[in-house]
Point group: C2
Chain length 135, copies 2
DNA sequence: TATAAACCTTGAAGCCACTTCAAGGTCAAA
DNA sequence: TTTGACCTTGAAGTGGCTTCAAGGTTTATA
């Protein structure tokens, strides 16, 4: 099959497939006589793993690590399990940070409403509150 | 004052200050006879607003919009208030997305634990679960 | 006085995971 | 025959910086 059919089977763009090849995640495929890339079912499986892992926000480096194990005929299952747990922890931490940020934004908004809104120099308005967040 | 002192007063790096200048957020400053950048207190105020807004995750485009108003002697307070509310909403939405992602990661981890962990081809293991997340 | 340490300058490249653009070549249907 | 869908490559753009390379300037110390 050609690149577009491969890409569609994994729900990614064909330009992403070319990018994965250029970055070493996917091996260079056979070519048809006209120079077009030619893929088979094993390429679909590989790309689906890449797409699934990307949809879980794994980095291409992480994915390369998983694929490298498989290419050496070593089972990557343990590595994948560990990565899932670690990524979940990272996301959890990120959520906490964003919750703090949201609170700061809402607090600033509420407080800002109590100040004049025609202050050019920002000495007595919400702009001043933003400026003084330093540290 | 020179660039490092300015940067320190706003708790940013001096390379960031040069980057802000190159991207038009900060105007080109005067120069000392030796070519070094020379700043004053108004530069500190401007950079503090930039730094405060960046710490709230505003984009440089947003910040440029705020500064453009001030540079035209129009009060940016209303704009800032609106941006605070809008950014808070964006963060809230992002948190929801990350919470869903975290749940997917934890669920996959739990389910993956019930499968063998020595499957090279990924037909009966957590790797297969990752691959089949398509769509 | 020599020299090291801390500061300053510029321009370019690197980061991440792509997308978009430019400028073409290939092939099937109408 | 011409339209349109598909394919190719390489380069540049995205955002907000940091890092690197290759210097010049100033202050402190030996
Ligand atoms: Zn597995
Ligand atoms: Zn575990
Ligand atoms: Zn204001
Ligand atoms: Zn409001």
């Amino acid at each position: 099959m050609r690149i577009k059919e491969l890409a569609q089977q994994a729900y990614v763009s064909d330009t992403a497939v070319r990018y994965y090849e250029s970055s070493g995640i996917l091996p260079p495929p056979r070519r048809l006589p006209n120079g077009y890339r030619d893929y088979d079912q094993s390429d679909v499986e590989r790309l689906k793993l890449v797409a699934g892992a990307r949809s879980l926000d794994f980095s291409l480096d992480d994915i390369a690590e998983i694929l490298a194990l498989r290419d050496r005929r070593e089972a990557p299952c343990r590595t994948v399990l560990d990565m899932l747990a670690q990524k979940a922890d990272e996301i959890q931490q990120r959520i906490i940070e964003l919750q703090q940020l949201e609170k700061q934004l809402r607090d600033l908004h509420e407080l800002g409403l109590t100040f004049p809104t025609d202050d050019i120099d920002g000495k007595n308005c919400v702009c001043h509150l933003v400026s003084e967040r330093a540290g």
